[in-house]
Amino acid sequence: MTPGHSGKVSESLSQIERALTQLWEPDETGRAKARAHTLNLVAVSGGAQSFLDVADHVASTLAARTFIVEVDPRAEPWALEGEVGAVCRYDAGQKGEEVCAERIELHLGAMVAKRARSIIEALSESRLPGVLLLGPGAHAAVVDALAPGCTRVVFDSAHFGVSRSQRIAQLAPGHLEDLAFSRGRRWREMIARFFDDPALMPAAAGLRSLRIEHVACAREEGMGAEAELLLGWLGARLGWQATPGAIMHDRHRVQVELHQRERSDRTLGWIESVALSARLGDGELVGQVSRDPDGEHLSWSLQTPDGNNYERHFSVPHRSQTELILRAVTSADGNDLIREALHFAAAWRG
């Protein structure tokens, strides 16, 4: 933290700023690139190439000034290295012209990681929204430094686990998007459907038992995130109280089981089935949703207290991580639900 060290970082920053200016200068023919910015995208990478590819795709699709931030453990602790380039695309709307946005790769030494916010603020377009996109293995110090200053944070609880994700949520005052929560959207819709009929609606308050089965691998941490978030959403919506490993509602214990199932033919973390029962008057409502063998459809069944049975089948179209992230960067819904679900799931996990 000596002045000399700080000076070194700012010197690097000045070089990056000069490179940014040069990027937009006209070439020898006098022609300059067309620039478009709609947001600042700060992608914190743990080094996975697949994540960098997704970040570049998002950047070019949304015309973002993009920062790829990595902490390089081999670098000198106070090092800041930047590489400036542009992501361009041909925009039909611009009469075939190239429209470009800056792409700035930042490699931070370990000590500079904590100053990431100050660096990003210096280089970003301050009047545009700042989206923080967290990749697997994102350096904790960088995440903690950047989350409070961004207008939106996009992450995947499957990479971080719900406890760490809850910590990120607490740090981030802006809009949250959790890709694990997004993947559970169809399941939430299916569960809500059990209680749509006004006659069955009161059964939601009488829910006493819940079993969620998901695909897991003992060695992969965080792979139960989708199931835990589904539980978190349900618990938060229904006003349950969570303590580590136990859930109460109206002085009744809610029986909850998150069952892990190892399946090599399925994507890790996928929810496989949800079964619930709820009291309604003297009777019981029993609902079940399960993924079909093809993995792309859900079977939904409901047994009402008066003995009627209903069965439906629904598709679960696959969304790639890139599609999910693109939606997450622009989506306007879900923020409060995600916060509640994370809070509940983390409390239950303990």
Partner: protein, 516 residues
């Protein structure tokens, strides 16, 4: 909003509303037609692909052709493959949609066919859980709507809405009549059979994202609305230009003309959205109340002199469009070689209200113009004092706000800026916002949004009976005067921006058309 999800289900709170469309069956009457193939099925597929359809959903086709369910599904699959904006077609999504698809053969005037339709719908309720929710989409030629609604009514399929009961809605395509008298008669007939809340009159322009964004721009921001009046706006231009001709629709166009095809509906809607006051709420009646007020404020253009001075009717001659030589309107198939049908209209309109008094609204719409573009340009008033009048490039009226509806949807603000250098020299520049650049993903087609809204029961983007009548009340006297031959049919070269008379019309008050 009778289709909103049950408010008491705590698990629905905060959930995206589009996921909460009530179960229903959509019946397309006229299912063998072009609209179904080109717009409705691709739109429904896109909704399914985005998981926006209700999970208990059925789609029934109704038409004269002797098709089986299987054949209907096969043909619609082909149509989606050909016309869907979402490609490639996902077989899993399609299979899911196709599972709920069926077909009923029948003539529109055959009561037995409607009995079969009712039985089929009841079977859907039992087998697919569609719970009695019904939407009837009339993809039929104008003139058939009255008969169909009457038969639906007789078959007990369109009972008026009762809270808590399943709904029945009818979607009707334009044109709503061919003049004021027929529009009033059609509305009277429909309202004798249905409640206004059951009628969804489609003008697909209102489903366009940028048309909706016009309201967000105006009423979701604070900086534009204070400028949006006679205090700051000099004049407004509305352009609805097509580079294509009538595309083989000679018979239709000979009966219709551009005034009925485009001006009476699309262009009038654009006028409404620019000129209307802020609605008190974002709901169907509040928005439509304001639109009707805007239409009623239009000063009628009546009498030979007013019509001659404030209107231009044109017809395209041969010319070159986008590099291709094209023939004159009168040489198009099924067109009378001496046709007097208009393919171009220019109007100078004025709204007699507090906000717009004295501000001309210029409207031009036409076929075979230089390019395809729909846009609204608000030209702001001249500088009160020309401080830089001697400077190179100085402009007296430098500011224009342009709302581009299609293509390249976006908003541009033009203003003057100093050219860097030692002396004062000016140039016009633009702040240019483009939807495609900002949001990346393809914007939904108008029909997707409108189909979804019919199922949700939200009529905000549909025209109400009094709105349709107010539109006709404005254009009808002009057409009547034209019929008398008081206004010459001006010829214009294909690929131009319309006849000279259109330029003279706007020049009368010292203005000029923009080059979009």
């Amino acid at each position: 909003m009778d289709s909103m999800p049950p408010p008491g289900n705590p698990l629905r709170a905060g959930m995206a509303t589009e996921l909460s469309v009530d179960p229903c069956v959509l019946t397309i009457l006229g299912a063998s037609g072009d609209l179904t193939r080109r717009k409705l099925l691709p739109g429904l597929y896109a909704l399914a692909e985005n998981r926006l359809l209700p999970s208990a959903f059925g789609l029934l086709g109704f038409a004269r052709r002797p098709w089986s369910d299987e054949k209907f599904r096969k043909l619609m699959r082909e149509a989606v493959g050909e016309h869907s904006r979402v490609k490639p077609v996902d077989d899993a999504v399609w299979d899911d949609l196709a599972k709920g698809m069926g077909y009923v053969q029948g003539s529109f005037d055959d009561p037995d066919a409607y009995v079969r339709l009712r039985e089929r719908l009841e079977r859907y309720d039992a087998e697919h859980g569609t719970a009695g929710g019904r939407t009837f989409y009339l993809a039929v030629p104008p003139g058939s709507a009255g008969t169909i609604v009457e038969q639906l009514k007789k078959a007990g399929l369109v009972d008026p809405p009762v809270d808590g009961k399943p709904y029945a809605r009818v979607v009707i395509e334009k044109p709503f009549g061919i003049d004021l008298e027929s529009a009033v008669a059609l509305n009277r007939d429909l309202l004798g059979l249905l409640d206004e809340r059951q009628i969804f009159r489609i003008d697909h322009y209102l489903g366009k994202e940028t048309v909706q964004n016009l309201l967000v721009l105006r009423f979701g921001n604070t900086i534009f609305e204070p400028l949006w009046s006679r205090n700051h706006v000099s004049h407004v231009e509305i352009t609805v230009a097509e580079h294509i001709g009538i595309e083989g629709r000679g018979k239709f166009y000979e009966q219709t003309g551009l005034m009925r095809d485009v001006v009476q509906n699309h262009a009038m809607q654009l006028f409404c959205l620019v000129a209307m006051e802020a609605p008190v709420a974002w709901d169907a009646d509040s928005v439509r109340d304001e639109k009707v007020k805007a239409l009623r404020s239009l000063r009628p253009i009546r009498g030979a002199q007013a019509v001659r001075e404030q209107t231009v009717r044109g017809q395209y001659a041969a010319g070159t469009v986008r590099g291709d030589a094209v023939s004159a309107y009168r040489k198009e198939p099924d067109v009378d070689p001496a046709s007097m049908t208009e393919t171009f209209v220019a109007l100078q309109m004025e709204a007699d209200n507090w906000r717009w008094a004295g501000v001309p609204f210029y409207l031009r719409a036409g076929k075979r113009l230089s390019k395809r573009v729909t846009e609204i340009a608000l030209h702001f008033k001249a500088l009160p004092h020309p401080l830089f009048s001697g400077a190179p490039g100085a402009m007296n009226e430098p500011n224009t706000l342009i709302l581009r509806i299609q293509p390249d949807e976006g908003i541009a603000l033009r203003f003057a800026t100093k050219i860097p250098g030692q002396s004062i020299a000016m140039r016009e520049v633009a702040m240019d916002f483009r939807y495609g650049t900002a949001f990346g993903h393809a914007t939904p087609e108008a029909y997707e949004r409108l189909l979804l809204d019919t199922m949700r029961g939200d009529a905000t983007l549909f025209t109400r009976h009094d709105e349709v009548e107010a539109q006709w009340a404005f254009v009808d006297p002009i057409m009547q005067q034209w019929k008398k031959g008081d206004v010459r049919l001006a010829r214009y070269e294909s690929g131009s921006w319309g006849p000279d008379e259109a330029h003279a019309l706007i020049a009368r008050l010292g203005h000029a058309w923009s080059r979009p």
